[in-house]
Structures are given as structure tokens and as C-alpha cells.
């Protein structure tokens, strides 16, 4: 079980209001991802839930019980830190066993649980090593192992993959997703990488300056971003924003088109936006073409499937898919 409800939870550090009162519900078994730019309060929010920081106001309910004043250990949550926070003088075995030892379990039971966690995480061969003798990915697994042996009500992850290289990150991302599918335990995951957010989450919570801009499933956020901030944050490459006459024609202050919703042609087309190619990034599977001199925005990015023979200085014509255009008013809110 692990249903976490935040009611009007707020946090101030001295005079600085880092998190204005917010409400949030995370269902049992849900994989919730907090995303947002650096310094927006993701870690702080996670630490409030963990009990490592005291709230300045509001209540935190875990499975219906008020946990606001509970000590971190009593909340039944396990946390995986960005730095892993392994105990450097203990072997992997002792690291994983530590929470069980603190809980006063008997030796045989501890050993059984450590073995099964190690088997699940491919750590059996490393049980007698110290953290200093492990690679980044292995350390990451030990940190996760230490979290799962406790069989917590929910897992909290604070940017757990940010210290890994790109290839390993993709691998660990899958492992964590699979762990979630297998354990069906609530997970709250902090990241500033929107790809991680999109691929792992059941629910994405987009934060900015401590406020929740939008919370919903990845596709909800992708299809119907509530405002320009969310629209720009979710999706890669970023959505193109166009203000002025072109937006006015469609009855909006600004319009947004995702790079994948623009067709690129090398022939003039009626109603198309004309521009000059700045850089074309060839990824093999896709090509990202950055188009300048359209008179609409500084750069318009277009995503073309597969290879396209575009080079710097080429003249191109862009046609947006009309039904995929997002419209925003002067306050940046979506116009339905």
C-alpha cells in the first residue's frame, strides 16, 4: 500500500517561499515523476514527503494516516539518493542489510532478503565488495537494493540516474521501470530529464518555482499542455512558439507547433512558411532541421523522419498540421 496525499503542503526556508501551498494525490502503485527546471523545488518536495524536511504548513497523508509529524523511518518510505549515499565502510551485503538490522530482524531472515534482492539486481557476485570498488551502475543497484529489502510503502528517487553515462542511463531506466511493474509499489521519481519522465511515468507532475503547472499522464501533457511552460517543457525537441500575426489569424496570442507536426518541403507550397536552413542534425532515424529567417520566430525546429538531404543555406517551406497547433492566450494559458 502506498497512497500519498499532500494537502496544502508548503515549505519556506526563512523568508524564501520555495513551495507555496500545493495539493497532490499519488495513487497506490502509481509511478509519479516530478519534473521541472533546476531549483524549482523537486528535491524539496520529495524530502518533505520523506520527512527529511519539516513542512511549513499543510498535511501529508500516507495511506490515509497523517504522517506530517512522523519521523522519516516511521513513514515506511525508502529513498534512493542522487549521490547513492552508500555507506563506504560497509560491504555491499552490509549496506543492503543495514535497514533490516536497524529494524531488528533475525540473521537468517536478513540473509534471505539480502540474497533475493541481490539476485534480483544482479549483485550476487559483488556482495563482499565495498562501494568504492563498484562501477556507477552497480552502486546505483546497491542503493536500489537497500531500498527494496525494506519492502516500503513507496520508493522515492531523487535524480537517481544523473551520475550515469547515457547508455547506462537508458539501461537503468528500463530496470527501474521493470522493478515497478514487478513490485507494483508506489514510486515517486524526481528528474529534470523529460525523456525519463515521458517513458517511465504513469503521472507526470510538472513543477515551476514550487507550483504544480500540470499533473497528468505523459500523453495528456503532450497532447493538451495546460500552458506554454508545460508545452515547452514536455516533448523533445521543444515546441516552436510563434506570436504575432500568424497567431492572431488563428485567434490566439501565441501558437505552438511541435517539430514533428511540421512538414518540410523544398518546393514552394501555398500558405507555407518560407525559411533558410541553419543547421540540420542528422540522427539517422530522424533529422532535426533548424530553420531561420522565417520572420515568425528566431528558429523553427522541424523533425523529419529518416534522412533528408538538407544542408546549411538551403531554402525550405514549412507547413504545420493545422489540427496539431496549440493556441495560447496572453497569459500563456491554453485556449481549448
Amino acid at each position: 500500500m502506498g497512497r500519498i496525499v499532500l494537502e496544502q503542503v508548503a515549505k519556506r526556508f526563512g523568508d524564501a517561499e520555495v513551495i507555496p501551498a500545493l495539493d497532490l494525490e499519488i495513487e497506490d502503485g502509481e509511478f509519479a515523476v516530478f519534473v521541472g527546471p533546476s531549483g524549482c523545488g523537486k528535491s524539496t518536495l520529495l524530502r518533505l514527503i520523506a520527512g527529511l524536511e519539516d513542512v511549513s504548513g499543510g498535511r501529508i497523508l500516507i495511506d490515509g494516516a497523517d504522517a506530517t509529524q512522523m519521523a522519516p523511518a516511521r513513514r515506511g518510505l525508502a529513498m534512493v539518493f542522487q549521490s547513492y549515499a552508500l555507506y563506504p565502510h560497509m560491504t555491499v551485503r552490509k549496506n543492503i542489510a543495514f535497514p533490516l538490522r536497524m529494524a531488528g530482524l533475525d540473521k537468517a531472515e536478513i540473509e534471505r532478503r539480502v540474497q533475493s534482492a541481490a539476485a534480483a539486481l544482479n549483485l550476487t557476485d559483488y556482495l563482499d565488495r565495498r562501494p568504492g570498488q563498484l562501477s556507477g551502475g552497480q552502486r546505483q543497484r546497491v542503493a536500489i537494493g537497500r531500498a527494496i529489502v525494506r519492502e516500503p510503502a513507496a520508493f522515492l528517487f531523487d535524480e537517481p540516474l544523473s551520475n550515469l553515462d547515457a547508455a547506462l542511463r537508458v539501461g537503468m531506466r528500463l530496470e527501474i521501470s521493470e522493478l515497478h511493474k514487478r513490485l507494483r509499489t508506489t514510486m515517486i521519481y524526481v528528474t529534470h530529464d523529460q525523456v525519463e519522465a515521458m517513458t517511465m511515468a504513469d503521472k507526470i507532475v510538472v513543477l515551476q518555482a514550487g507550483r504544480i503547472e500540470q499533473a497528468g499522464s505523459p500523453l495528456e501533457l503532450y497532447r493538451a499542455p495546460r500552458n506554454r511552460f508545460v508545452a515547452g517543457f514536455i516533448g523533445s525537441p521543444r515546441m516552436n512558439f510563434i506570436e504575432g500575426e500568424e497567431a492572431g489569424r488563428r485567434g490566439a496570442f501565441a501558437i505552438g507547433v511541435r517539430p514533428e507536426d511540421i512538414a518540410l518541403s523544398r518546393e514552394p507550397a501555398p500558405g507555407a512558411w518560407e525559411g533558410v536552413v541553419g543547421v540540420a542534425e542528422h540522427l539517422g532515424s530522424d533529422t532535426f532541421v533548424h530553420v531561420h529567417e522565417t520572420g515568425l520566430a528566431e528558429t523553427i525546429t522541424v523533425r523529419v523522419s529518416g534522412e533528408t538531404p538538407c544542408a546549411h543555406g538551403d531554402r525550405v517551406w514549412l507547413t504545420p498540421r493545422e489540427d496539431a497547433i496549440h493556441r495560447f492566450d496572453a497569459q500563456g494559458l491554453r485556449i481549448a
Binding site: A50, L52, P72, M79, F98, P99, R146, R150
Partner: protein, 288 residues
């Protein structure tokens, strides 16, 4: 400093310091060695010729030798125990965010800047004097008979005085070690259900082990040669005659330079054994 020329230049520039240091060490060392093999009694005839290993044998077989080793070990051990234990506690306290932290830290470091002679005299006359000392007043306040510290509790008194001087050193080193502890480790332990005591035992103490080793080894080197505190308090009486003090008495009080020098050579050997330990353990710890 890679090229041959720059290395030669470096050697040239270091030479004066090296020569000076060598002279500084070698001259007294050679003289000590030389005198230790002579019968040299300055007030009783001067240099009376070759003595062979007489001085060495006499120094060890004197009834004062083993008690002096024992006193040395008690003082070194006592001060180490007190400074490490209190140092860890103080460092933990100073690590807490408290009001007036800067002032408190300066106050804690202050004893280190007081000269040993001065602090020993202050302790002896202001605190431990059996008639007018603060402790005597305190004892009387509770209706107890004041303690004549220097004669009735001579070794503990000296341990107390020396510990007071060395506590800042231990505290400072341990404080920096505590501050280098990753906060997330403590938070992880807290989430893992470790209470304050468990966190101290399982996380903080192991983290401090290297700093404690350094404190112990460096202090041992200096504590082996404690002298001023004994000189201005008990003058070596009441069982406070350490090896260093014994050597001093042989040379200056008995005016037997040869015998004292032999003791000096023993002290050098003892200090070197400890120094080798220090190098090896510190070196190993730094590798790890």
C-alpha cells in the same frame, strides 16, 4: 618540474634548507651519540674517557627506568583517551548549528595557543592549589576535604593539564572530518531507521576512524616529549617522572651527561618506532 634543467634548479634552491636542517639534526644527534659512549661528568672532572656500553646498561638497570616508562605510557595513553573521546563529542557539538558558533569555535581553539609552561602554572596555581585553588573552593562548597592535586593525584593532574592543551587539536581535526561526512549518508541512515546512537556508531564513527588514527599518531609523537608541564608542577616527583624527565634529571641534576645521552638514544629509538608506525598507518590510510 619535469625537465632536467628545472630539476637541477630546484635542487640548487632547496640545498640551503636541506643543509640547514641536516646540520640542525645531525650535530645534536652526533653529539648525543658521542657523549653516550663517554664518562662525562661536567662538575666532577669533565670528560673521563671512553665508557663503552656502560651508560646504556646503567640507564636501563636504574630503578627509575621502568617506572619512568610506565609514567610516560600512562600520560600518553591517558591524554590520548581523553582527547579523542572528548574531541569527538566536542566536534559533534561544534558541528551543530548553534548561536554564536564562530565565537565558540575560537574559544575551543584558544588553549592550543597558550604556552605549555603558562597553562601548567595557571592550572597548578589557579585551579589545583589545595588552599586557594578554584577546585579547593568547589570541594569545600560541597563540604569535602580539598584535594592536594599535585601530590595525591599527580598523574591524573598532569593528564588533565596536557589533555586540556591538546583537546583543541583533536577537536579541530575531528571537526573537519565530521564536516566532510556526506549529509545524504546520515539522511539515508535516518530513513533506514537508524536512531541518533546507531547513526553515530554505524556511520559517524567509521567515517572518523582515519582522523582518529591521525590524531592518535601525531599526538603520541608530541606527548612522548612532554616536559614543561611536569617541570613547573611536580618536578618529576610523585610518580610523574617520565622518560624525558628522567633524561633531564640525569644530565642536569646528576650532571651525568654520558648517562643522560644514553637515555636520549633510547628515547630516539622509542620515538622512531612510533614514527614508523605513523608513516605506515597514515600512508596506508591515505592510499585507501
Amino acid at each position: 618540474m619535469a625537465t632536467r634543467r628545472s630539476r637541477a634548479a630546484a635542487r640548487m634552491m632547496m640545498a640551503p634548507a636541506v643543509v640547514l636542517l641536516l646540520g640542525w639534526m645531525l650535530v645534536p644527534l652526533t653529539m648525543t651519540l658521542w657523549f653516550s659512549f663517554r664518562r662525562y661528568l661536567p662538575m666532577r672532572g669533565g670528560d673521563l674517557g671512553w665508557a663503552g656500553f656502560d651508560n646504556y646498561v646503567r640507564f636501563v638497570s636504574s630503578s627509575a627506568f621502568w617506572p619512568s616508562i610506565q609514567a610516560t605510557l600512562v600520560i600518553v595513553g591517558g591524554v590520548l583517551a581523553a582527547t579523542v573521546a572528548l574531541g569527538v563529542l566536542l566536534a559533534l557539538l561544534l558541528d551543530q548549528p548553534i548561536w554564536g558558533q564562530g565565537v565558540v569555535r575560537v574559544l575551543v581553539i584558544a588553549p592550543f595557543f597558550v604556552m605549555p609552561t603558562v597553562s601548567a602554572l595557571v592550572w597548578k596555581n589557579m585551579f589545583m592549589d589545595p588552599v586557594n585553588g578554584l577546585f579547593a573552593h568547589l570541594w569545600r562548597l560541597f563540604g569535602a576535604e580539598p584535594l592536594a592535586w599535585m601530590s595525591e593525584a599527580s598523574l591524573p593532574s598532569i593528564v588533565l593539564i596536557v589533555s586540556w592543551q591538546w583537546l583543541p587539536f583533536a577537536t579541530l581535526i575531528l571537526l573537519t572530518a565530521i564536516q566532510s561526512l556526506d549529509r545524504e549518508q546520515l539522511e539515508a541512515a535516518e530513513m533506514d531507521g537508524a536512531g541518533p546512537l546507531s547513526r553515530f556508531v554505524h556511520i559517524i564513527l567509521p567515517h572518523l576512524s582515519r582522523a582518529v588514527t591521525v590524531v592518535i599518531l601525531i599526538q603520541t609523537i608530541f606527548l612522548l616529549s612532554v616536559f614543561a608541564e611536569i617541570f613547573v608542577t611536580t618536578q618529576g616527583s610523585f610518580g610523574t617522572r617520565t622518560l624525558t624527565y628522567l633524561i633531564y634529571q640525569r644530565v642536569l641534576e646528576s650532571q651525568n651527561v654520558g648517562l643522560g645521552s644514553a637515555g636520549g638514544v633510547y628515547a630516539i629509538i622509542l620515538a622512531n618506532i612510533v614514527a614508523i608506525f605513523l608513516m605506515r598507518i597514515v600512508g596506508k590510510n591515505l592510499d585507501a
